[in-house]
């Protein structure tokens, strides 16, 4: 379980401190996907940087299974909007970067090949990122995160740079793989549709500085033909109302 208590983060601008997150508290249960939704500039990305150990300048407490955040000790998979691939590494080198950094290459075995196959990138392993489309690059980023076998998966609007059709494909693909591994996931999005499709819990953040307005169980989670159902419309309306009020 991830427990966030009274988390506040402020950025130092020229003469003033701007508060990005204000006393945010939430508990995230293991094995769930939480989608975080909120207006732009509400500190969603800042929250992920805190959870991934990149941003250390905060007040309040953040712990994973009772221990403080430490990227050296925990396995944290991070998938960013711009994919976060290193341009001088091939697809294969990028995908195994996580376990290389963790000095854990022997645990790869057939698992890497299995993930490559599931993501449909087994034919691209020798290519460089610039030779791939956005969708393919994001598949590599997902492969890297899953090959790491993370304790916690953090995704920062991972599909927002993709076109609509590729985005839906990637959502399905990600969800299929996620179902087999059930990694605790925090998925940041600005799309109500994506929040409903992927999250079994939905956390709604206020506009800046970010606070949690509400955490909802998502009744639409894992429903077939989600986008044509009444529940979907009802939830979608409810979410939009809360977001716009916040």
């Amino acid at each position: 379980m991830i427990s966030i208590r009274d988390l506040s983060v402020s950025y130092h601008r020229k003469n003033e401190d701007a508060l990005a997150i204000d006393q945010l508290s939430i508990d995230i249960d293991a094995g769930d996907i939480y989608t975080f939704i909120g207006p732009s500039g509400c500190g969603k990305s800042t929250l992920l940087y805190v959870l991934s150990g990149i941003l250390k300048d905060y007040t309040g407490s953040v712990s994973i299974d009772g221990r403080p955040i430490d990227p050296k000790a925990q396995r944290i998979g991070l998938i960013l909007q711009n994919y976060g691939l290193l341009p001088w590494k091939t697809v294969c080198e990028n995908a195994v970067l996580g376990i290389k950094i963790k000095n854990d290459r022997q645990s790869l075995g057939d698992y890497g090949a299995y993930i490559f196959k599931q993501l449909g990138i087994e034919g691209l392993l020798d290519r460089y990122p610039k030779e791939l489309s956005g969708g393919q690059q994001q598949r590599v980023a997902i492969a890297r995160a899953f090959i790491l076998k993370p304790d916690l998966l953090l995704m920062d609007e991972p599909f927002s740079a993709l076109d609509a059709i590729t985005r839906e494909e990637m959502q399905e693909l990600f969800f299929d793989i996620w179902k087999q591994h059930r990694v605790t996931t925090i998925f940041i999005t600005h799309s109500v549709d994506e929040a409903l499709y992927l999250g079994n819990k939905i956390a709604i953040l206020s506009s800046a500085p970010g606070r949690v307005l509400e955490v909802l169980e998502n009744p639409c989670f894992q429903m077939d033909n989600l986008r044509s159902r009444d529940e979907y419309y009802a939830m979608s309306k409810k979410l939009r109302q809360i977001v716009s009020k916040g």
Partner: protein, 249 residues
Amino acid sequence: MSKVFSTEKWRGALLGFVILIITWYMVSLVVKLPIIPSPWVVFIHVVQIFRAKIAIHVFFSLARIMEGIAIALLIGVPVGFLMGYFEKVDKVLSPVLYFSYPVPKIALLPIIMVLFGLGEASKLIMIVLIIIFQIIITSRDAVKDIPEETFRSLQSLGASKLQTFTEIILPASLSEILTATRLALGTAISILFFTETFGTEYGMGYFIMDSWMRVNYLDMYAGIIVLSFIGFFLFITIDIAERKICSWR
């Protein structure tokens, strides 16, 4: 990926040479003085005297160029990396660097000669002193130009400083360092020529100046041609290295 030397590139290089040689030939026809011999005579002369008279000088000059560049890289790249990565180091060293960069190093030559003698050491020190600045500044800027986001994935994986260095800083800046090396190479050859005019009887600089003083213009031109070819082949070597190492670009 394009081949290192496509036929198109060879054709371009050949055309450049042909134009250069024709121009030279025409000038020699117009001037009609022994100080500008025809290129054909010079080329034949190069072939005739290369093994007996020039080869040993090529060897000495090449060794000095390579040593100079190697030393400048070994010192300059780490210093540049430290300045690029650690803001504090940059704040202290940048002013020193900017202050000493414009100092005409040739003016320091008498001091260096007094301190290190007339031999190899002072020649190398001159080369290193002049080219190291470009290498330090390029390495520093290459590190500074790496976007912040590039480091994020590695930070979230808990990478050590060493891992950050080998996985990101080195590969990201290699291409710029090779460009700096290319510039340094041109500069190194011109300084080399200058430093080889004293305290040695070996090196292309010595050979060319000695021929000039003996009024042997054919020898002198042969030396100049060979020196140009040394530069040409060194430049091509760096190009090939860059295409091999930076094929991801």
